[in-house]
Symmetry: C2
Amino acid sequence: MSDLLERLRGRGWRMTAQRRVVAEVLEGDHVHLTADEVHARAVDRLPEISRATVYNTLGEMVSLGEVIEVSTDRRAKRYDPNAHRPHHHLVCARCGAIRDVHPSGNPLADLPDDERFGFTVSDVEVTYRGICPNCSATA
Amino acid sequence: MSDLLERLRGRGWRMTAQRRVVAEVLEGDHVHLTADEVHARAVDRLPEISRATVYNTLGEMVSLGEVIEVSTDRRAKRYDPNAHRPHHHLVCARCGAIRDVHPSGNPLADLPDDERFGFTVSDVEVTYRGICPNCSATA
DNA sequence: TGTTTGACTTGGACAAAGTCCATTGTAGGA
DNA sequence: TCCTACAATGGACTTTGTCCAAGTCAAACA
Ligand SMILES: [Mn+2]
Ligand SMILES: [Mn+2]
Ligand SMILES: [Zn+2]
Ligand SMILES: [Zn+2]
């Protein structure tokens, strides 16, 4: 079954067909779908689900910390169910494929005090860019 | 005068009042304006400059490598004239202030081979987030 | 099991950021 | 000074997302 769905149910969510379908669409690893992609796949299972509901539901999942918003390009935000293991992203510059990555080391420690300008720095977001094996092959 | 302007002139750009004004607006350090902010400031100097021209001009500067596009939030892209010294960004989560930062170490080296999934990784983008001194004070 | 009700869903209007294009204007060379 | 290729303009259009009033329904409770 759906891990995500289980966690949400455990938080006292009212369960509706729409929410179930959105959670099911987000199952898996290296999943980073846009809201419209989620909507398209949700419609396959539940034809009349609305765009507004998909946005609402994703927003709530994000608020609950069960889904992460990822912006690797300047297009649509992507929704990532891998919320419980901190990670960064590796993006193909050609086709947009996205993989979760776990760098060694802590980039926060790499920011010297004299480069902090008095900020209280609490978080760092890293995006690696390159060419995926698929795109390399079909050069 | 304008370094940016000089570099652009040196590349054989046809010089127009509009391009001059956009380049002048982008002078300085830690400058990360949105296209609309650039437009607003350009209008102060040249009232009839159009939005389309600002977008076109910024896009060309980016193509020439004289300006960098930065997306620290999911709002508008920001345009950064500091294109000749590689750097990352430190962003205030409350007010959005942005500073250029130069971390020690190379985050690219922190990505182990078994986390590269066969990608040819060529670039990394790092965004630090925190609270600026100003926002800390007016807590 | 039927009723009730507040939470959820819906479709459409609206907004922000950006692109595209036909038309008009002009920088800079001949 | 004249020409013309390149640049500027403004408005229509697109994408991504938010907001709202009205209708629907999950689930608590009797
Ligand atoms: Mn991820
Ligand atoms: Mn910068
Ligand atoms: Zn690829
Ligand atoms: Zn601040």
